[in-house]
Amino acid sequence: MAEDDEDRADALFHALADRTRRDIVRRVLAGEHSVSALAAKYDMSFAAVQKHVAVLEKAGLLSKRRQGREQLASGDVDAVRSVASMLTELEGVWRGRIARIDALIAADHPTQPLPSHPDGPRKD
């Protein structure tokens, strides 16, 4: 179970660590796109875009279906799960910011302890 979660997280972060793949996710979250329509958006080969789509599919960020000769990709798979992953990315930014605030405040008194509480020692 934990192993599965780790594998899924690896696939998710790997998938989102690429600019083109994040862009594809944004497009397919907004609506279904054919892989050839997606390929037309980027300055790369159809095969390269298809490969990005496959990575995203493996990470569970999009699903594909076939309609005639077209492959259609949509971000419906668990849109919720991708929102969760995005909020997790933001959480990482916030943790960095808070660590910097903490360091900035700590630099006020590099050698002194915090001033004692005016009401005397705390009892709790």
Binding site: L29, A30, V83, A84, E89, I98, R100, I101, L104
Partner: protein, 162 residues
């Protein structure tokens, strides 16, 4: 780490982060009231922030940009809607062009920062809400591409601890 709680509300696309700082309320307020301190903590490492205007009053604006290692600048603004010194403030955070005019194609997030005395220090609660999942994705595209690697490294560490 001072972060004590993280709540992700998927339905409302809201991230709520709680952190405890070992400093008085006024000291934490100063981080936001002083543009030179704010720019030290806002940008991710390697992307220093520069605060241009700084008016932490209702109706006031705080404009800033972050500079990438390649020298590319990313501009943004806070439009302050509510201030309750030193207990917190609310603002809308938007991406802008280089004249600090909001880009209507980019999402705006609503933010509420609150500070309270807690256990001899200060508890800060940061709430950020995005209107849509697409908005959230766009924000990650624009503002975080650079910080993403670092953030992912941190998240990996967190996941490993679970």
């Amino acid at each position: 780490m001072p972060v004590t709680d993280v709540i992700k509300d998927l339905d409302s696309r809201t991230l709520t982060i709680t952190a405890d700082f070992a400093a008085p309320l006024e000291r934490v307020w100063q981080v936001y009231a002083d543009p030179r301190q704010l720019e030290k903590v806002w940008g991710p490492p390697g992307y220093p922030a520069t605060v241009v205007e700084h008016e932490l009053t209702p109706g006031g604006a705080m404009t800033y940009y972050m500079t990438s290692p390649e020298g590319e600048k990313y501009y943004g603004r806070w439009d302050v809607t509510e201030v309750s010194e030193p207990r917190g403030f609310r603002f809308d955070d938007a991406f802008t062009d280089d004249t600090f005019t909001a880009n209507p194609e980019m999402p705006v997030s609503q933010n509420s920062y609150a500070f309270a005395e807690h256990d001899g220090g200060t508890r800060a609660t940061y709430v950020t809400t995005y209107a849509t999942a697409e908005a959230l994705q766009q924000v990650l595209e624009m503002g975080m591409e650079e910080g993403a690697r670092e953030a992912i490294a941190q998240i990996d560490v967190l996941l490993a601890q679970q």
